[in-house]
C-alpha cells in the first residue's frame, strides 16, 4: 500500500507540473508582452505613415463632457468622415474626467493603446512636446488648402513648439478674468466692480479690502482664486503676475519662488486668508457661481456657469504693484506618433482646426487665430457677454498674456512644491522662509 501511495503522489506531482507551469508561463508571457513596447517599434515623430488600406476609426480624448461641446465635435467629425470616406469610417470623442485626465491618457499610452489625438493641458505641454510622443504638425497644417497658417498667433503657439516644430495645436486660448457679484458687493456697502475699475481702484490691495468687508458684512467669502484650493498653487500665477513674479525662469531651470516679488505676492495671499479674511481659509470651500463669494478669478470659459440669480460683471485682471498682467490658460490637441494612424489623425486635426471650424469652436474655445479674435467675431458665438465685455476681457486679455507655469517635469515639481507650500497656509507661517525651502526642494527637479 505504501508503495502504491508513493507512486500515486509522484504521478500527481508530475501531472501537476504542467498545471502549475501554465499560469507561470502565461505570467512570463504577460510580463514580456506588457505595454512597454520596444522603442524601435515606434515610428519616428513626424514620419509619414502609409495610407490606410481601409478606412480607419479615430479616437480623440477630451476632458469636456459638455453635451454642447461634444455635439459640435461630432458635427465637425461627421463632415470630415463624409468628405473622406476612404480615410476614416468613424471618429470618436472620449471624455475623461479632468482631474485624472493626464493620468488616464498616460495609462492608455503605457497600455499600448494611445488615442489617435488627445487634448493636452498646458502644464504638461513641455513634457508631451519634448518627449517625442507627438507628431510634428507643421507640414500637415501648411499643406492643407485654406488653412491659413499665417493667421495663427505666434505667441499662442510658442508653448507647443520645440526646435521650431509645432507638436500640438492650441485650440483653446482662454484668458483669466475676474467675475464680480455686484449684488453681494452692494449688500456689503461696497462699490461695484465696474465702479472700482472706472475709478482706477481695480487693484489687488483694494480687492483685499473689499473682500474683507464682504466677509464681515455678509458672512460670505470675499474673493476666491477658483480651483486653487490650497493645492493647485500654479493657478496663483493669476495673482503673482501683477506682482512681477514668476515661478521659475523662462528656460525652466532656475527657481524664482523665493524672489522678493514672489514673497510680496504670497504675503498678500497669506494676509488675505488669515488677517483680512478676504479669501476662504484652507479647508473651506466657496463657489462664486453658487452665490457664496463676491469675486472670483477664473477663465472666461466659466461664464457658462452664470445664471440670472445675481447681478454680475466680468472684468480684466486687476493691477498689482508691478502693474496689470494678463494670464491665459491654454489647451492643445496633439497627434500620438505611436497610435495606429498618425497621418490620418493629423489630417483630421487640420480639418478640425481650419478657419471655418475654428470659428465654430470659438463659441466655447477662443482660438489662436488673429482674424477670429475680434469682439465682433466672438459676439456672434457668445450671446452671454456683450461686445464691450468681449473686447475688454478676451481680446485685450490676450495681449501680452503669460501662461501658467509649465515644465517638462511639471507633475513632480507640482507635487513637491505643494507639499512644501502646505506649511505656508498656516496663520503664523514665515512666508519668505517657506518659499526659500520650496525653492531648495524643487530646484533639483527643475534641473532634471
Amino acid at each position: 500500500m505504501g508503495t502504491q501511495t508513493t507512486t500515486r503522489r509522484r504521478v500527481t506531482r508530475r501531472r501537476a507540473l504542467p498545471v502549475l507551469a501554465l499560469p507561470l508561463t502565461m505570467a512570463l508571457l504577460a510580463a514580456c508582452s506588457g505595454g512597454a513596447a520596444d522603442a524601435d517599434d515606434a515610428p519616428a515623430p513626424g514620419a509619414e505613415a502609409p495610407a490606410p488600406a481601409e478606412p480607419v476609426d479615430l479616437r480623440m480624448t477630451v476632458w469636456s463632457a459638455n453635451e454642447d461641446h461634444l455635439a459640435l465635435f461630432d458635427e465637425i467629425a461627421a463632415e470630415y468622415v463624409e468628405a473622406n470616406p476612404d480615410l476614416v469610417s468613424s471618429i470618436t470623442f472620449e471624455p475623461l474626467p479632468f482631474d485624472e485626465y493626464t493620468t488616464a491618457v498616460t495609462t492608455q499610452v503605457a497600455g499600448g493603446n494611445p488615442p489617435d489625438l488627445a487634448w493636452i493641458l498646458e502644464s504638461t505641454a513641455p513634457e508631451f512636446v519634448e518627449s517625442g510622443a507627438l507628431v510634428a504638425l507643421d507640414d500637415v497644417l501648411a499643406g492643407t488648402e485654406g488653412y491659413a497658417v499665417e493667421d495663427l498667433n505666434p505667441d499662442a503657439l510658442s508653448l507647443w513648439q520645440s526646435e521650431d516644430q509645432l507638436y500640438a495645436y492650441p485650440f483653446s486660448t482662454s484668458p483669466f478674468v475676474v467675475f464680480v457679484n455686484d449684488d453681494m458687493l452692494a449688500a456689503a456697502g461696497q462699490p461695484t466692480g465696474r465702479e472700482l475699475l472706472d475709478s482706477g481702484e481695480w487693484t489687488w490691495d483694494r480687492i483685499q479690502e473689499v473682500g474683507g468687508a464682504v466677509k464681515q458684512a455678509t458672512g460670505n467669502d470675499g474673493f476666491v482664486i477658483r480651483d486653487f484650493e490650497y493645492a493647485q498653487w500654479e493657478i496663483l500665477a493669476t495673482v503673482w503676475g501683477g506682482f512681477g513674479a514668476s515661478a521659475w525662469s523662462e528656460d525652466y531651470t532656475t527657481c524664482q519662488l523665493d524672489s522678493p516679488e514672489m514673497v510680496e505676492a504670497m504675503t498678500f495671499l497669506h494676509d488675505s486668508a488669515f488677517d483680512a479674511a478676504a479669501m476662504p481659509a484652507p479647508g473651506t470651500t466657496a463657489d462664486f457661481f453658487a452665490g457664496q463669494a463676491a469675486i472670483t478669478v477664473t477663465q472666461i470659459s466659466r461664464a457658462s456657469l452664470l445664471d440670472d440669480s445675481f447681478a454680475w460683471d466680468v472684468l480684466p485682471m486687476p493691477e498689482g504693484p508691478a502693474g496689470q498682467q494678463n494670464v491665459i490658460g491654454q489647451a492643445g490637441i496633439g497627434v500620438f506618433a505611436n497610435a495606429e494612424n498618425p497621418d490620418v489623425a493629423a489630417d483630421f486635426l487640420a480639418f478640425f482646426t481650419n478657419p471655418e471650424n475654428s470659428a465654430r469652436l470659438g463659441q466655447y474655445f477662443p482660438p489662436p487665430r488673429v482674424s477670429l479674435l475680434t469682439a465682433e467675431q466672438l459676439k456672434a458665438t457668445n450671446p452671454l457677454l456683450s461686445e464691450a465685455q468681449l473686447e475688454e476681457v478676451v481680446v485685450q486679455g490676450l495681449e501680452g498674456a503669460v501662461t501658467k507655469p509649465a515644465h517638462p517635469n511639471f507633475a513632480q515639481i507640482q507635487q513637491a512644491a505643494r507639499a512644501e507650500l502646505d506649511s505656508l497656509w498656516t496663520p503664523d507661517a514665515d512666508v519668505a522662509a517657506v518659499l526659500g525651502t520650496t525653492c531648495e526642494r524643487i530646484q533639483p527637479l527643475l534641473e532634471q
Binding site: L24, A27, D38, Y230, A281, G283, D422
Partner: protein
C-alpha cells in the same frame, strides 16, 4: 487490477503482434478522465489567476527592474537601480513612516473599539440588535461616498467643528494640520470598518461556552479574570484573524488619502500606496512605482508570516 500493455521487445526490436497479445488499453482511462475533468474544472480559476494575479505580479517584478519612460516609449533595463534609488529616497522613507503610523493607529483603534463594542453588544439586553445594525451599517456604505461625507464634516467650517463650537470648544483644521490630518484619516477608516470586526468578535464571543465562564466564577474568578483567562483565550484565533486583516488592509489604504488629504499636508499622510500611485500615475515613473509595489508586497508577506508565526505563542485555542 489494471493490466499493462506489452512493450516492444528490446532484444529483437520487433513489435509484439497486437492481434495475438492482450487487448490494447484505452488511452482515456478512468484515472485520466478524472484528472482531465478536474483540470477542466479548475482551469477557469487557474486562467483567471494567471491572467489577473500571477501575471501582473511577475510583470511588476519585471517592470521594477526597468526605467520606463512612457511618453518617450523607452524601456531600459536598470537592474536593481530602482531599488537603490528607493533606499536613498526621502519621499519613500516619509511614506514608510506615514504607513507605519497609519497602521499602528488603525490596528490599535479598530481592534480595541471593535472588541469593546462586541463585548457590550453581547449582552442579552433589548435593543442590542438595533445597535449592531447601526455600527455595522458603515461597512456596506460605498467607501468613497463615506470618505467624501467625512471630508465635508472635517473641514474647518464643517460639522465636527460646528458641533465642538456648540460645546464651547475651538476645533482644529483637522485635515490641514500635520498632527491632526493622520488622526482624521484613521478615525474615518476605523468608523468605516469597525462594524465588520465587531461582528467577527461578536460571533467569536457567542461561541465561548457559558459553562467555562461559570466554572471560572465558581472557582472565584472575578469578571476581569474571566474575560482575560476564558473569553480572550478562546477568541484568540479571531483576534489573530482580525489583526491580520486589519494590518494588511491598513497597508493598502488609498481612497481615503486620495479623497481627504492627497497625501498632505506636506507628506504627513502620503502612505505607501498613495506614494506608489503618485510615482506611477502622476509622475509616470512606472518602473520606479513597480519597485515600490514589490517592496509593499514584501512588507505584507513578511508581516503576515510573522503574525502566523506568533499564533503558536499567543493563540491559546484553535480548532
Amino acid at each position: 487490477m489494471t493490466t499493462t500493455a506489452p512493450r516492444p521487445s528490446a532484444t529483437t526490436g520487433s513489435p509484439v503482434s497486437r492481434r495475438g497479445g492482450a487487448p490494447r488499453r484505452p488511452w482515456l482511462t478512468y484515472r485520466r478522465r478524472d484528472n482531465l475533468t478536474g483540470l477542466l474544472m479548475v482551469s477557469p480559476q487557474l486562467l483567471g489567476s494567471a491572467a489577473f494575479v500571477i501575471g501582473p505580479l511577475v510583470a511588476v517584478v519585471w517592470y521594477s527592474l526597468h526605467e520606463w519612460r512612457v511618453l518617450a516609449n523607452e524601456f531600459t533595463f536598470v537592474g536593481a537601480g530602482n531599488y537603490e534609488r528607493l533606499a536613498a529616497d526621502p519621499g519613500f522613507h516619509d511614506s514608510l513612516r506615514a504607513t507605519g503610523l497609519f497602521s499602528v493607529g488603525l490596528v490599535v483603534f479598530n481592534i480595541s473599539l471593535a472588541l469593546a463594542l462586541a463585548v457590550m453588544l453581547d449582552q442579552k439586553l433589548r435593543g442590542t440588535a438595533v445597535f449592531r445594525t447601526l455600527f455595522f451599517s458603515p461597512v456596506v456604505v460605498t467607501l468613497v461616498a463615506w470618505t467624501i461625507v467625512w471630508g465635508f464634516l472635517l473641514q474647518d467650517n464643517g460639522g465636527i467643528n460646528a458641533f465642538l463650537e456648540v460645546l464651547g470648544l475651538d476645533g482644529p483644521n483637522w485635515l490641514r494640520g500635520e498632527s491632526t490630518s493622520m488622526l482624521g484619516v484613521v478615525v474615518v477608516q476605523v468608523l468605516k470598518n469597525v462594524g465588520l470586526n465587531m461582528v467577527l468578535f461578536l460571533a467569536a464571543l457567542q461561541g465561548v461556552p457559558e459553562e467555562l465562564k461559570e466554572a471560572a466564577r465558581m472557582d472565584g474568578a472575578g469578571p476581569w479574570r474571566v474575560f482575560r483567562s476564558i473569553t480572550l483565550a478562546l477568541i484568540s484565533p479571531t483576534i489573530l484573524l482580525v489583526s491580520i486583516i486589519t494590518v494588511v488592509g491598513s497597508l493598502q489604504v488609498f481612497a481615503q488619502i486620495a479623497v481627504l488629504t492627497q497625501g498632505g499636508p506636506g507628506t504627513s499622510t502620503t502612505v505607501l500606496v498613495y506614494y506608489l500611485y503618485q510615482q506611477a500615475f502622476q509622475f509616470k515613473e512606472f518602473g520606479y512605482a513597480s519597485a515600490v509595489a514589490v517592496v509593499l508586497f514584501g512588507i505584507v508577506l513578511v508581516l503576515t508570516l510573522i503574525q502566523w508565526g506568533l499564533r503558536r505563542r499567543f493563540v491559546f485555542h484553535e480548532s
